[in-house]
Amino acid sequence: MDKITALVTESAELTPGIQSLTVRLPESTDWDVRPGQFAGLYPADGSMLLMRPISVCRWDPARRELRFVYRPAGAGTRSFTALREGDTIDLLGPLGNGYDTEALAGRHVLLLGGGIGVPPMLELAAALRNAGAETQVTAALGYRTDELFLAEDFRETGAEVLIATEDGTAGTKGTVLDAVREAGIRPDAVCACGPMPMLRAVKRYAEELGIDAWLSLEERMACGVGACLGCVVKTRETDAHSHVKNARICTEGPVFAAREVEIG
């Protein structure tokens, strides 16, 4: 884990309001990036001092290239849209636990991505392709409209892709779970990233099916490395680090077994 200055190799709008950013890490870095991990991206302006946590969307260890796909939300992420090839950006990472791909290997894994929760699922889909022939991946991706981003990239990993849109302009009209039900899928495990109402529904869905579910959680962060205790989630059991029923999303997470966290 370190803070480094990376070189921007690509920065573009994918669809309105969705940006892609690819950076090359310096040769001296020895990052070993797992799906589900994230990095802290620092805005260059001196008035914004905290990093912005953004999930790894793709990782190419050979070229040391990291891809992020993000939604310009506030001043910090908006400032990233001005980055151009050849610019630099400071990154802290790799952060968080990431998905345990070994535990998923050999199963029929359902990946659920809702909105800006879609990008982190891509690296997981790619990693599971190499997790043994028996591993089967279905990715159900939820969008607002038919401006689908990254859907093609999922297909390229070999995953079966289901689409849901809120307005019904593509795929199933409704949520990712509606698309899953419509397709009659019966997975052995589910991994999900998206807004909290979706994560709650996924937790219930997995309980009904009696299967394992892993959820990627979000919270406001300051340090990103486990020191400030800013980013906790309530847990069912007392946490080994905190000794209270709070786990740090940046360190024990952002990926949690659904049954371990109290998300209401």
Binding site: S47, L49, L50, R220, V225, C228, T251
Partner: protein, 306 residues
């Protein structure tokens, strides 16, 4: 110019290899930032506040960014003194740095219980008493905002403490000099300041408070001028050493605090911006001394002119 400057400072009889500490709550117990900096290079590690029992802290969101800084309302989540001694203190005692344990409580008795437990601990070099956390609701803030209450709790702690006692002051007061004098009158061996300034952020799109706790403590470069002023006023008011903090982002900032009268400094929120900062500050102070031909860092303390 050939000899390296003497970077050591002595506070209440404890000699630190350099005047750079970590600010409580921004550095855990050193485990996390030990990946980035060599803890042996620091004057002292000041731990996150610890109480007699585990504390859950506040609901989330607990942190948010503000212009040139951040707000936090962690609410002093901590694993309690037992786990702290067993795990955190054991970890820290592997390093060649001083260990300052930050203590919190809801009541005077809770503070005293922690101080008593730590009295047996040889691995603890000093205690820092947080009488100023704005996020604790049960009235703990009152200790740090009323001179007589501050004096009294200082006296009670001093009676049972085995280590030198640093009282950590809040900036949310009318007269910081009066508070500094109250701590001194109570027998404090040193004071540290500033803790966070109480602030608030409102989300205008959702028309609600950003922090679950509504208010939070503000820290970061934005508060530095207020911190420097208060350190200067406090250092003028008392004889005991002052430990300065609030927005330190560089060695230059640290020198500013030393010139204002601080005997040591602590790096807080800016660790989150630059995890290597504590070491850089120590190196940068040394470089400043070399550049100005000053032989000892202690020559900077309170050396502002005019």
């Amino acid at each position: 110019m050939s000899a390296r400057p003497d970077m050591s400072v002595t506070i209440a009889g404890v000699t630190l290899k350099n005047p750079v500490m970590t600010a409580s709550g921004t550095f855990g117990s050193g485990m996390e930032y030990g990946q980035f900096v060599d803890l042996n290079r620091l004057g002292a590690v000041v731990t996150k506040g610890v109480a007699n029992q585990p504390w859950e802290g506040n609901p989330t969101p607990r942190v948010t960014e503000v212009y040139g800084g951040m707000l936090n309302a962690i609410g002093l989540q901590n694993p309690g003194i037992d786990v702290f001694i067993e795990r955190d203190l054991a970890f820290l005692s592997q390093y060649d740095t001083k260990v300052i344990v930050n203590v919190c409580g809801h009541t005077e008795e809770e503070y005293l219980e922690v101080v008593e437990r730590l009295a047996e601990e040889k691995r603890v070099d000093m205690l820092e008493i947080n009488v100023s956390c704005p996020n604790v609701k049960e009235g703990a803030i009152a200790f740090g905002q009323k001179p007589d209450a501050l004096c009294r709790i200082t006296e009670r702690i001093k009676k049972i403490a085995a280590q030198p006692v640093i009282m950590k002051l809040t900036p949310n007061v009318t007269d910081i000099a009066e508070m500094a004098r109250a701590a001194e009158a109570g027998g404090a061996d040193a004071i540290s300041l500033i803790n966070t300034l109480t602030g608030m952020k409102i989300d205008i799109e959702r028309r609600c408070f950003v922090l679950a706790n509504r208010t939070g403590g503000m820290s970061g470069p934005a508060i530095k001028p207020i911190a420097v002023r208060m350190v200067w006023q406090a250092a003028q008011a008392v004889q005991i050493p002052v430990i300065g903090m609030g927005g330190i982002a560089s060695a230059e900032d640290a020198v500013e605090f030393l010139l204002a009268g601080a005997s040591a400094v602590a790096v807080g929120a800016m660790n989150f911006h630059d995890p290597y900062l504590t070491e850089k500050v120590a190196d940068g102070i040394e470089a400043y001394l070399v550049r100005h031909g000053i032989g000892r860092v202690t020559d900077l303390i309170g050396a502002v002119n005019g």
